[in-house]
């Protein structure tokens, strides 16, 4: 389990992350969302033991992540995929496996299993990494981050710049990681994916975690439920769309008033849909407070 307590990072008097508390447990995916410059990447780097916090600690099973031994339990995927372009995938993974002191046979076995699972074809494994597509490079980077079977996986924008299909594939892979008992931190701008995958969501703004909880909890606290009403006659706030009058309403009282008008005008209510707030709206509201 990785526990961060009061993580703070300042650069020459400017605080980039402040008092960040995070708890990552096995079998759970935690989402970290926020605007650019909110401090997500700095926080992840502190969790990964790459950046020394100005104050606070990040510990994995009680051991500071700044210690080399603790980093064996962490798989870190940065936002970019900085690979060695002249190496092919197998050699690249073999090199990184050796840096974790994995036996050769184990490296071979895990490389084969990961690349197969991530859908990297045999012929692509033998091509220099510099010649692979962005999606394939990302898959190799993910394989590297998981090669040593870390207990905690820190993914910084894993689907950034990827096409929807590859993005969905990687989403599926994150689910598998959760099923395999990994503790996953997922930082992403792809909010629908965060909604889909995460058991808990942390909202970061200006270096602080301004809210946290399950999606339902966040919706309950921050977002506004909206209602879509469609009818055959006009009602207050409606717009004519084709042959149907439609309106997005914020409160139940407005819905009741609209239904009353439709009944009075002898119209037919075609649909009343309750739409929960999207994470994007929650993020916007949380960041505005």
């Amino acid at each position: 389990m990785l526990v961060a307590d009061g993580l703070t990072k300042s650069y020459r008097g400017q605080t980039v992350a402040s008092g960040v508390n995070i708890r990552l447990e096995g079998g759970r995916v935690v989402g970290l969302v926020g605007a650019n410059g909110a401090g997500k990447t700095t926080t992840i780097k502190m969790l990964a033991g790459l950046l020394e916090p100005t104050s606070g600690t990040a510990r994995i099973d009680g051991r500071p992540t700044l210690e080399a031994a603790a980093r064996r339990q962490i798989g870190y995927l940065p936002e970019e995929s900085p690979l060695y372009d002249d190496l092919h995938a197998t050699a690249y993974l073999s090199f990184f496996g050796s840096l974790y002191d994995l036996p050769r046979a184990e490296i071979r076995e895990r490389t084969e299993s990961l690349l197969t699972r991530l859908g990297l074809e045999d012929r692509d494994r033998k091509r220099p990494l510099g010649t692979l597509s962005k999606g394939m490079r990302r898959k190799v980077a993910i394989a590297r981050c998981l090669l040593h079977e870390p207990a905690v996986v820190l993914l910084d924008e894993p689907t950034s710049g990827l096409d929807p299909l590859t993005s969905a594939e990687l989403g599926e892979f994150v689910r598998e990681l959760r099923a395999n008992g990994k503790a996953v931190l997922l930082s992403a701008h792809n909010l629908p994916q965060v909604e889909e995958l995460c058991d808990e969501i942390l909202i970061m703004h200006l270096g602080r975690i301004v809210d946290r909880g399950t999606l339902a909890e966040l919706r309950g606290r921050i977002g506004t439920q909206r209602y879509r009403v469609r009818a055959t006659v006009a009602f207050p706030g409606s717009e004519l769309k084709g042959t149907v009058h439609e309106a997005w309403l914020q409160a139940l009282s407005q819905v009741e008033a609209a239904l009353e008008v439709v009944r009075r005008e002898k119209g037919i209510v075609l649909e009343v849909e309750s739409v929960p707030p999207r994470l994007e709206e929650i993020l916007r509201r949380a960041s505005a407070t």
Binding site: R71, Y76, P78, L83, F96
Partner: protein, 565 residues
């Protein structure tokens, strides 16, 4: 050694092995085969691209025939001018008369070559003459003598120049003070008179530096790529420390440099002393490359810094070494040690240490600073060079107490840079040299101490008050100077200037000034620290340097009453 470092080293070395793809190997094998096949023929006949360049038609009875035959450039045929008239020859020699076509470049060129061949032939004929006195009626003995930087020192006697009877001495003594006699050139013909510069040894010593430059390019390029492409981030996320990663990255280049220097040592017969003297050069070269590779922000900046440091470092190494046979200032450079080793001359331990210790210490400090930079926080930040240096210094000296050590470790750099200034100073006239050196020395010392003070004031969360920073950094620098005192005196004594000063003033009297430098360093560093606190480090550095220069001038005038500035 850490296994991770070895694996990183293996991967780094493998990058170059991967470059050796089959087609590269085939091309190399073909080139090797061609060289192998042509080798015996070249050995037998030699390489003479100029052979039979010009066609010469010569009268069979011409007395110039031996001259033409002595030069491979001429393809000689016998004739009385017919071939020349038909354009099949570039020159025609009839008796003692040489004919060429003035409007034909090739023919004119052939005539010039013939003139040179005639001179060479004549020189050789004189060489072969059994009566040397008849061939060379004038013979010369030259004795080069060291010259003092001081105009007059009555206590030192002037030796009488030794001149062989019946010979002319072409080198008149330039001053009254001679303390060390340079290499003698005896019984020479005028054409053999050469300046006593160890040109051959100097050129041989280049063999150490040339491969180092190639290695540096590859080394720095690899470090920069690791940063600009952020690959170092992934290495740092593994269970290996920055120091281990750097060790692994550096190992192949260190091994390659060492291997090449061993080969060079064996090839030029520099011996163990020469090899040992070359090590600080290689260490400093690699350490500088390492630091540059970690602070440069772009390939363009990397190239600029590498070229600039290579030029300055080469100047530092080779300029004083030119004077190896003439002036003790040469022993500021380890190259002088290598040259002396090549010439089979004795080298004192003092000279060896004087030439090698500052460079070695500087290499160690630069390596320490580089290791401090191999962190996520500093490795990828596109900050300025000085800002990164300040980051590294603060990382190494985060506490107030550690400022003392940082101040002390600035001393090897001060010595190195001041020696560098001294190299230029010896080429100037006395007055200009003094002013140049006093001001330059002050600027160098204040820059080094100021950098440490600036790093503390601007990087520390709770910086110490400027006077305390001044005392700690200035005190550290003072201690470093005192630690190097014995060593410095050895070096100082090598120089006529230092000898004169010590003779005039005395070491014991010099000790009276022991605490004056402490006060100076404290005051000037305090000034820079105040400047750093107000964001005006550069201005404060200038003021501190002026104060320091005034102090230097006072001390020198006290030490050398005969000198007026």
């Amino acid at each position: 050694m850490n296994r991770g470092a070895l694996r990183i080293a293996g991967n780094e070395a493998a990058r170059y092995v991967r470059f050796l793809q089959p087609r590269v190997l085939v091309a190399a094998a073909l080139i090797g085969l061609l060289l192998g096949l042509s080798g015996p023929a070249v050995r037998e006949r030699g390489l003479h691209p100029e052979a039979e360049l010009y066609r010469v038609e010569i009268d069979p009875d011409s007395p110039l025939r031996p001259i033409v035959d002595s030069d491979r450039a001429f393809d000689v045929t016998e004739g009385v001018g017919l071939a020349f008239l038909n354009g099949r020859a570039d020159l025609s020699i009839l008796g003692e008369n040489v004919h060429y076509r003035a409007d034909d470049d090739r023919s004119a060129s052939a005539a010039r070559e013939l003139e040179l061949a005639a001179r060479r032939w004549l020189d050789q004929a004189l060489e072969d003459e059994t009566d040397a006195s008849a061939a060379f009626p004038i013979r010369v003995n030259i004795i080069y003598e060291a010259r003092s930087l001081v105009a007059a020192t009555p206590t030192t006697p002037t030796p009488t120049p030794t001149t062989a009877p019946g010979t002319n001495n072409t080198s008149a003594p330039q001053s009254q003070l001679v303390s060390r006699t340079g290499e003698k050139q005896l019984d020479l013909r005028p054409s053999q008179v050469e300046p006593p510069f160890p040109i051959r040894s100097l050129l041989l010593t280049f063999a150490y530096v040339v491969p180092l430059n190639f290695v540096s390019q590859l080394y720095a390029g690899s470090l920069l790529a690791e940063r600009t492409r952020q690959r170092g981030l992934l290495l740092l996320s593994t269970p290996n420390s920055g120091a281990q990663i750097l060790l692994g990255k550096s190992l192949p280049y260190v091994v390659a440099t060492l291997a090449m220097s061993i080969v060079v040592t064996l090839a030029i017969h520099a011996g163990l002393v020469g090899f040992l003297a070359a090590l600080p050069i290689l260490a400093f070269g690699l350490a500088t490359t390492l630091l540059i590779g970690l602070i440069a922000r772009s390939p363009r900046e990397l190239t600029f810094l590498l070229v600039a440091t290579t030029v300055l470092f080469s100047t530092f190494l080779f300029l004083p070494a030119i004077f190896t046979q003439i002036h003790p200032v040469a022993f500021l450079s380890p190259v002088s040690i290598i040259i002396s080793a090549l010439r089979g001359q004795a080298i004192t331990l003092g000279s060896f240490l004087y030439a090698t210790v500052p460079l070695t210490l500087a290499a160690l400090v630069l390596t320490g600073l580089s290791v401090a930079l191999y962190r996520e926080e500093t490795l990828f930040a596109p900050r300025g060079l000085l800002a990164k240096l300040a980051d590294a210094i603060h990382f190494r000296a985060p506490s107030r107490a550690s400022l003392v050590g940082a101040g002390a470790l600035a001393v090897p750099f001060a010595i190195g840079l001041e020696l560098f200034l001294l190299i230029f100073a010896v080429t100037l006239n006395l007055r200009t040299a003094f002013v140049f050196f006093l001001m330059g020395g002050a600027l160098v010392e204040e820059a080094l101490k100021g950098l440490v003070a600036h790093a503390h004031i601007t990087r520390s969360g709770r910086p110490a008050p400027p006077p305390l920073v001044g005392l700690l950094v200035g005190g550290g620098f003072f201690l470093g100077e005192k630690f190097a005192l014995v060593f410095s005196l050895v070096g100082f004594n090598l120089l006529p200037l230092g000898r004169d000063a010590l003779a005039t003033f005395g070491i014991a009297s010099s000790a009276l000034l022991v605490f004056a430098p402490l006060l100076l360093h404290t005051v000037t560093t305090t000034l820079t620290a105040y400047g750093a606190r107000r964001g005006r480090t550069a201005l404060a550095w200038c003021v501190a340097s002026l104060v320091h220069a005034a102090y230097n001038a006072t001390v020198f005038l006290l030490l050398l009453p005969g000198v007026s500035l």
